[in-house]
């Protein structure tokens, strides 16, 4: 069984999508925080220390890649695994995200929300066993 009340941060500007994943992860027993733009994402990361961040790329105020740069530049947050959840489907964007330290790059439209929740759960299960971020390929 997964660790109780592990905190996930969803940084997503689309309220429908944010709510969808918030409810889905809350149902799986996670404590879920939602940030609606990049700046709020960074703020909540600092405050809440989540075990995983689901990060959108195209967002108002601060771009997702910039959020990643800042997360990785900060000692306190650089070990938090970041799963990029976006609509940008080009391989270049995926490479950029992975090079910046994302553990997985998921294109929303290519999967059912149910599959995405399963993928994130698997990643989290791996981390809770090892507590060390591992490399991950493009999905």
């Amino acid at each position: 069984m997964l660790r109780q009340m592990a905190k996930i941060l969803i940084v997503e500007d689309d309220p429908l999508i944010a709510r969808l994943y918030q409810k889905a992860f809350a149902f799986e027993g996670y404590d879920v925080e939602v940030a609606h733009d990049g700046e709020e994402g960074l703020k909540k990361t600092a405050e809440d220390k989540p075990v995983l961040i689901l990060l959108d790329i195209m967002m108002p105020k601060m771009h997702g890649f910039e959020v990643m740069d800042r997360l990785k530049a900060n000692e306190e947050t650089k070990k938090i695994p970041v799963v990029v959840l976006t609509n940008l489907a080009s391989p270049r964007d995926a490479e950029t995200a992975l090079s910046k330290g994302a553990v997985k790059y998921i294109v929303k439209s290519e999967y059912q929300p149910k599959q995405i929740v399963e993928m994130v759960k698997e990643i989290l299960a791996g981390y809770t066993r090892e507590e060390i971020p591992a490399t991950a390929g493009v999905k």
Partner: protein, 532 residues
């Protein structure tokens, strides 16, 4: 035909309420998302879909009134409310789409020209309402499509498709404006329950399916919402089954009570015919007992008889008045004094009268256009207690007779000589002529009424118009069936009576359904609270 129309009325009710349910689910989804951020622009899609949902609830209770000829109070108000809510819904959604910035792709920029859209709003809104609704639905679809195609929100593709299809259904709704056309082919196409009417609802059903699939995808792991949806859908299903069953039962009731009243109507007509028989017999007795007739008959004094008889013929409004001697030879005919001398010995009424028995009977005779039903009576002329001759009189059951019945009782009726209509109160569409001389070829009616002498009641087509009808046999004095009495009402007029209760049932169901949302919500919340 009647049942098909009723099923289609119910189909309209079902589709509209399903549309209301699905749009309510989408409204709820946006409301739930709004609780996360509580910004004004997030509230707009919620309000837009809520207005659409309410407009579909109102739409469900509007029973198509062209079928029922007379307009019901409230229907016009409901139609206006539906259009206002629908407009409100689309405009709120369009506004929401316009003020929410697009999730731009990294390299491209696309500007939406809202000026073209806004120019629509300057047009006379109410006159063009159905057309404008179609345009607004398409524009809403276009704006969602823009988010999916130009922006990054591909998950909104089904919503845009749903709105395009909804726009198509709204476009078919424009056909209501053509219902008064003089073109018969077009009028048939756009009339209620015809192909376009059905297509509009089928297309709406497709749009509902697309929206439904999309919204369900967002309810992942949301037990409370899913339970709420399941409860509401189950409640909807129960309401629909009850309403459809109730409306069909109510239709059957109305049909039965219509037949019941027709049965008593035909009894009234039969009673009138019997009274007429008694009246004619009494007339025959009065003439036969006139001492002047008794005095003039043995000497065959035609001029004396002619004076007495002509007075009677005119005063009592009889068709024929004949005097025969003891040998059944015609002494005089009041209606035609120049012809006399032939023998009526084969006439059963004359035979009985000469045996000193008074009788009256319903018979038929040849007429110019159609056979005629006539009431005849014969009475013996006595002198010193000896039968010296007989009086035979007749009165035709013609259009004037049925008109007289209608004036006194308000009943429409037809009289058949065998299976040919000889008199009727039903006037042809030209306002003058009557449909007499038409044969009733329905084998069931011929067998039951003419051959078995029993009453028939049920649905029949008369000149391609469906009627609820009762046929009752007309019998001669020796119990032979010589014709039929018919009373009937067009089925659409019966439908009008049922329509009021159906519309009331629909309205109450719709209100109860909306009210059942609260307990459904509380129950789902309670159950979901126990499982998590």
């Amino acid at each position: 035909m009647l049942t098909t129309q009723f099923l289609l009325v119910n189909f309209h009710f079902v589709v509209s309420l399903l549309a209301a349910l699905i749009t309510l689910a989408i409204a709820w989804l946006y409301f739930d998302a709004w609780t996360g951020q509580k910004s004004f622009k997030q509230a707009l899609p919620f309000l837009g879909f809520l207005f659409l949902s309410l407009s579909f609830v109102v739409q469900s209770v509007i029973v198509d009134q062209s079928l029922f000829e007379t307009a019901f109070e409230g229907t016009a108000a409901a139609s206006a409310l539906k259009i206002i809510l629908r407009f409100g819904g689309y405009l709120t959604l369009v506004a929401g789409q316009l003020i929410t910035p697009l999730q731009q792709r990294p390299t491209r920029k696309w500007r939406f020209r809202s000026a073209a859209l806004l120019s629509f709003l300057g047009l006379p809104v109410l006159e063009l309402a159905p057309f404008l609704l179609a345009v607004l639905a398409m524009v809403t679809g276009l704006l969602y499509r823009r988010r999916a195609a130009r922006g990054l929100e591909r998950h909104l593709k089904p919503v845009s498709l749903g709105f395009f299809i909804l726009g198509l259904a709204e476009l078919l709704g424009v056909s209501i404006g053509f219902r008064d056309t003089a073109n018969v082919a077009l009028a048939n196409l756009v009339a209620p329950f015809r192909p376009l009417w059905i297509t509009e609802r089928v297309i709406l059903l497709i749009a509902i399916y697309i929206f439904g699939r999309w919204v369900w995808g967002y309810l992942l792991k949301r037990f409370e919402t899913q339970l709420f949806m399941i409860f509401t859908t189950a409640t909807l299903a129960i309401f629909l089954i009850t309403t459809v069953a109730f409306s069909l039962a109510s239709l059957a009731n109305v049909r039965n009570s219509a037949l019941e009243s027709l049965r008593s109507d035909v009894g009234v007509i039969a009673y009138t015919v019997d009274s007429k028989k008694a009246e004619i017999l009494a007339d025959a007795q009065v003439v036969s007992q006139d001492p002047h007739v008794g005095a003039a008959l043995p000497s065959a004094n035609r001029s004396a008889l002619a004076t007495i008889l002509t007075n009677n013929l005119l005063a009592k409004g009889l068709t024929t008045l004949t005097v025969v001697n003891r040998d059944a030879q015609v002494v005089i005919r009041a209606e035609d004094p120049e012809h006399f001398g032939e023998s009526l010995s084969s006439d059963p009424l004359i035979q009985l009268a000469l045996e000193n028995r008074e009788t009256s009977s319903v018979d038929t005779k040849e007429g110019t256009l159609a056979p005629v039903v006539t009431i005849r009576a014969a009475a013996p002329v006595l002198r010193n207690n000896q039968v010296i001759g007989a009086i035979l009189i007749s009165s035709d059951i013609d259009n004037a007779f049925v008109d007289g019945v209608k004036e006194a009782t308000g009943l429409d009726a037809s009289i058949y000589a065998d299976n040919v209509r000889s008199a009727t109160t039903f006037i042809a569409p030209d306002g003058k002529s009557r449909f007499t001389g038409i044969k009733e070829e329905n084998e069931t009616i011929k067998e039951r009424v003419l051959a078995q002498g029993q009453t028939f009641e049920g649905s029949v087509d008369i000149l391609s118009v469906p009627y609820f009808a009762v046929f009752s046999p007309l019998k001669s004095f020796d119990n032979n069936v010589v014709g039929m009495l018919f009373v009937g009402r067009p089925q659409t007029s019966i439908l009008q009576t049922a329509a009021r209760s159906i519309e009331l049932t629909f309205s109450i169901s719709a209100i109860l359904l909306v009210l059942s949302g609260l307990p459904a919500y509380l129950i789902s919340k309670y159950i979901a609270g126990q499982t998590v």
